[in-house]
Amino acid sequence: MNILSSLRRNYEQGRISGVLLLGLGILAAILLFSAIGPFFVDAVNAQVGAVRPRKPPGPEYFLGTDSQGRDMWTLLIYATPNTLKMGLIAGFIGVGFGTALGLIAGHFGGIVDAVIRVISDALLTVPAIAILVIIAGNIDRMTTLVMALVVASLGWMFTTRTVRAQVLTIREKSYVEVARVNGESQWEILFTEIMPNLMPYIVASFVGTVSGSILAVIGLEALGLGALDEMTLGNTIYWSQQSSAVLRGYWWWWGPPIVVIAAIFIGLFLTSVGFDRFANPKLARR
């Protein structure tokens, strides 16, 4: 009851905006789709050669079939959670690592700070795909988990930057000074005074990092560097490109994965815009 009334109050104050609800709604719908989808379809139909190839959407195959004889609808239901999974894992690792580095850099300063800052700035300006291609191209046996790790290796810099900047601001606040005078240790100040105030920024970074990771994963997969034996949205795009599905007019092969990918990105984008408002009450009043 308490949570509900607090939610309602936030909504009335304009902190929970329509944009945030729409974004979260889209994401929830995609999650629901990938969670209950498998109960309604037969996994066998997503395997190569299971159904008649190159059938346009019709009563028999709701979204048609691809050249390799897979039912697109079944394929989509199994591919979506895999893509989301990679994004979430990479997001968690990237944000976790990024937060730790940002805290260290901002709180302790000095040479550690300088090194972290230079490396993260340099990596931010390099096209991620270039480094990811080198790493992914040198891995013998690609799986979705390894893919998530590869992408996470370049998914931490933005969080580090944000967290570091915030730590530098918060560190100067008077309550931190009070805590210091009260004799709290460095670590206590870091985790009990500074950390809680960083949460909105960390959540915002998380949404951005998940989005960036999914983008990178799909990009690598479209280049053919993904775990080709697993069903993911990016691999579906790759195979459709391999068979020139666009030129041959098999729109049902590349269309649906693009729609799902677009829905994921739009959902994440709206959530991050809406969350900005939630974390920053000043924006809500506009």
Binding site: V118, I119, A122, L123, L124, T125, V126, P127, A128, I129, A130, I131, V133, I134, I135, G137, N138, I139, D140, S211, L215, A216, I218, G219, A222, L223, G224, L225, I237, Q241, V246, L247, G249, W251, W254, I258, I261, A262, F265, I266, L268, F269, L270, V273
Partner: protein, 334 residues
Amino acid sequence: MSRELLRYLLTRFGQLLLIVFVAVSINFIIPRLLPGDPVQTALARLQATGGAQNVDIQAVSAAYRAKYGLDAPILEQYLNYWLDLFRLDLGVSFANFPEKVSTMIGNALPWSVTLLAVATLIAFSVGSLLGGRLAWPGSGRTIKSIVPLMMILTSIPFYLLAIILIYFFAVVLKWFPPAGGVDTTRIMRLDWATTEDILRHAFLPCLAIILGNVGFWALGMRSQMVSVLGEDYITFAEAKGLHPNRIFVWYGMRNALLAQVTALALSLGSVVSGAVLVEVIFNYPGLGSLLYVAIRGQDYFVIQGVVLMLIVSLAVLLFLVDLIYPLLDPRIRR
């Protein structure tokens, strides 16, 4: 040139060198950190996929052993790597042995650079103008209704937009060619027919990059403009009775552009990443397609060369953006 400006330029140039240094080192270290002998692995894969039927594997292998001295101490390898780079020697292709990687990159680079530069410039200018207008109080309701469209375009990866564009404009309507940089039968000359051919092929890839980026610039500019409009100097300019268009361009846009240029520097990396994939989708003869073919053919040194080239050209682009900055901001120039 004042001392401050000189210092600014020197710092930026230092940054350029740093990025190049880091990139080259990463390119050197990563393959050596991973288990196995890169040359052997690559050649084995090449043979397994049947990509090397016409190539004398022994000759290739020997050439690489000699060149890379993979048995030498790591520091010596690293120094040799740098020396080769200064000689613009990036090795030779496995798949097209003995074509030089530097020649292949040299052929592909102009395509990529032109496409990316033109598309980014158009997206940046159109997006910034649009964004400025969106935030301007006088602008009508019709222009504001494009905001949701901008948001959708920004969030979709633009190589996916490319697929949709090919389908509608090249496959269904047949207005533009679906792939390539010029007609395969075209003999390249400096005449109108060739130019037109190139432009016709470049239109869709360019449009994909522009559509994918314009929203980003528009939204960024809009939020910048909103905060600039709250500044005292705008009120002052209004009080002076300046023409609204003059206030818009010289008081509003000019100040809001500073943050946009910073954003340009930060976003170039992802724009390049996206453009690589757009090239792949269109089979455009630039670095992206070269990379794709090299990945498919396990052409190890081509992959490395292209990646290095991407990083270095991006660093140079960043440096150029940094050179624009003093022109916009007199505080740095002083």
